[in-house]
Symmetry: C2
Subunit: 470 residues, 2 copies
């Protein structure tokens, strides 16, 4: 039940901000501001011996003087002063601490020693510690925001079902910012930095029990405890899928990891084997990470590798087919062979010159209704395990109604359906509409195809676990 | 000099629109409208026996009645009537014809016969014919627009240096729309459809002589005359780079090509060998096509495979390094080993805890000025053939000034520099600014790395031709 000890990071009833400041350019100001901006509902205690009030909140000279229970303390003071404050927090029975400050292991020498001390103190008092050198937690559901970057500088995604945990703070912030633009929902974000105490394994355990989270996306540079990682990741991935980037997979990349965090990236073959054993789905770039997570968040998987493609652009259909069936440069899935009765049924709903076999090409004479009818028919074909729907919105009779039509068909089946559409702003609008209705959508056919592969792999994994029976 | 015969497609002094209409939902209306909207400066003659005037222009009952030279005729009437009108155009000495109408080879049987007839007539009268079943030409420099899709439905990119020719009209339109959003400049666009006469080879010859065009991007489904393609593409690629997608590269993809256009996709090994021989750079998806074209449009190439990475996010630097050096999943280039004097010089301009070796990590303490100084120093290192600059805009001291700084350094060197930046709207704005200053920029580090590989390959090719000496 050790994951319970992490709860105050996500659901603290009170937060002390050590190093709170009145100067907007200071981290200690922004920490208080972010908590206010996110609408944190518990008590905030700014701690600063030189201030009476910060951002309208009564300030305290030290933790002791608060005189109330503190669930979580955020620490943003120079590294050398952290041990002393940490002890004070321990004396005051603070449950969890996020050390935002840098200047520890990542700078080597004295910093590394300081980190050992900090670790020891936290253990001594039974406090859970996140960081140092991290940006902590953003949880839009529980309204927690310990990110010291102003909202104008780093956008925050809306609430959703994808948990994102990142060893790198900068990578985390860049991707949160990007997720916001892409309208991708977040269950929670954690940047855990040097992981003196709380690491990716602890977080996996916590997220396994967090109901809001349906998928876990990870950015990792280092896996410290391989065996335990496999153990916990295996348990977790049985219940919710894990997608992970493991950076530093090449010799040169591993060197770069060690020179910027002092961590050992680990041998690529070992990581590969560990991921496979634990059922962790691997992503190789940031788009893949969230393309896969979004597809998995629907809860639908493909229990087979026979995929149907529905398109209104012949060329896009060919490109999708290439990517789908190519073993080397593509994902090596199969183009589903439609049953004779499916083809007969399709012909009733599409123009005579349209193509009723896979890839199904509705041509420029397409209507939104055609998409609804065709997907519905194809989804009922037992030879089809998943459908990729390519929606080019330029043909004369096309309009936003296509979203309703696809959604109707989507709801009438359990099979995974992924949408792809290429084009400018009007296309982007439609992509977002699909996204809002819970249907994963992608700006390039190849990305939808890769995401489908991920659903096929997940289906295979669940089958292996004996969970594949519908 | 046969390419000269194509000039009236791009620079016609007068255009007749056969099948011009007063009804906005008709193709024949939109053809006239698109010419007016683009600001076409020659004469437009709408031809329609039932109208006196169309969109404020005097209409003519037939081509003969125009009584003036017609350089280009656009034909948008039912397929069966095309031969007759084509003969009339021939009699009236029309130089070039774009047959927009469908219903030819792509529908098989009677359509194929009709196409043969159309071909014969054009040849008989010495007219060049584009299509049938195509959307023709959009040339923002010469102000020609034969696209029958309203501007509200299909956006038009700004003028630029990339020519884009596409066998598929739908793919062409979707990508023009996307290019507009991405702010990618176009020298001209051609959709040549069934290529009864004008094909990709003719267009390559024309573009070789078109000064506005610096790079050629192609979407191909079929190469009909392999040997001649290699010949002309080789000549062209000596002068300007060609990047091409060849769809239908898998067995299933090839089948899809033949079922939607009746074309033979050709054996993949042969295409691969032909491209290699002709120096055509291959793209496997639409992002690659334009990512590469944009990098090549700068005119800079890498005369070696030793790449430097400058970043302000450690994680992003590691990801770029992985992609750069990985032979299997990446591009297999080398991380440049910086000279000792470069490192000494770098240390003078970056914080003590920043990383002065490749990948160079400026950390969250980065300033815009640091980018200028560092790129400048690195570009002077003889061990560096190209630079990837990763700009995360979230650190406190970062702002749009970084664009000026990078531009200054960019201008002080001949080596290729590609920028990558991940994030939401503010990041997208910065990416566009780089783009506008002529510095290719990408929303994901991996895409910048792949584009750099393309510049390395182009450098190798030019060296082989004896053009590598600076």
């Amino acid at each position: 039940m050790s994951y319970k000890t992490l709860e105050p990071f996500f659901k603290p009833k009170s937060i002390a901000v050590i190093g709170a400041s009145r100067s907007p350019e200071k981290v200690g100001y922004q920490l208080v501001k972010s908590l206010i901006d996110v609408g944190y509902e518990g008590k905030i205690y700014p701690v600063n011996p030189k201030a009476d009030e910060i951002l309208g909140l009564k300030a305290y000279p030290n933790i002791k003087s608060i005189g109330e229970t503190v669930d979580l303390a955020l620490i943003a003071i120079p590294a050398q002063s952290v041990p002393e404050v940490l002890r004070e927090a321990g004396e005051c029975k603070v449950k969890c601490v996020i050390v935002v400050s840098g200047g520890f292991k990542e700078v080597g020498g004295e910093g590394a020693k300081l980190e050992e001390e900090v670790k020891r103190i936290a253990r001594e008092y039974g406090m859970r510690l996140m960081g140092p050198n991290c940006i902590g937690v953003y949880d839009p559901h529980n309204k927690i925001d310990t990110l010291f970057l102003p909202r104008g500088r780093a956008l925050r995604p809306k609430s959703g079902e994808i948990a994102f945990i990142s060893q790198s703070g900068a990578m985390g912030v860049a991707l949160l910012d990007w997720m916001t633009m892409e309208d991708i929902g977040l269950s929670c974000f954690v940047s855990y930095g040097n992981k003196a105490d709380v690491d990716e394994i602890d977080l996996l355990e916590y997220l396994l029990h967090d109901e809001k989270c349906k998928v876990i996306a990870m950015y990792l540079e280092e896996i410290t405890h391989g065996r335990r990682f496999i153990e916990v990741a295996s348990e977790t991935s049985k219940v919710k899928p894990i997608v992970a980037i493991k950076a530093g997979r090449t010799m040169e990349g591993a060197k770069a990891v060690s020179s910027h965090t002092g961590a050992l990236a680990g041998r690529e073959e070992i990581v590969e084997a560990a991921f496979k054993k634990a059922g962790v789905i691997r992503a190789y770039d940031t788009h893949e990470l969230f393309d896969y997570a979004r597809a998995l968040a629907t809860g639908r998987v493909a229990f087979g590798d026979r995929i149907a493609i529905v398109t209104d652009g012949g060329g896009a259909g060919v490109m999708a087919t290439d990517k789908l069936t190519d073993e080397k440069r593509g994902v090596g899935l199969k183009l589903a062979e439609l049953k004779e009765e499916t083809i007969i049924e399709l012909k009733k709903h599409i123009p005579p010159f349209a193509i009723p076999h896979n890839p199904i090409d509705l041509t420029g004479s397409v209507t939104p209704e055609m998409y609804g009818d065709v997907i519905d028919i194809v989804a009922r074909d037992e030879n089809v395990d998943g459908i990729i729907v390519i929606v080019l919105i330029h043909p004369p009779a096309m309009n936003v109604k296509v979203v309703d039509e696809v959604e109707k068909a989507y709801k009438s089946t359990n099979k995974p359906i992924l949408v792809a559409s290429t084009g400018g702003e009007p296309t982007q609008k439609i992509l977002k509409m699909f996204q809002e209705r819970g249907i994963p959508s992608y700006p390039e056919v190849e990305r939808a195809v890769k995401a489908m592969k991920c659903l096929v792999d997940r289906g295979k994994y669940l089958k292996k676990l004996g969970k594949g029976i519908h």
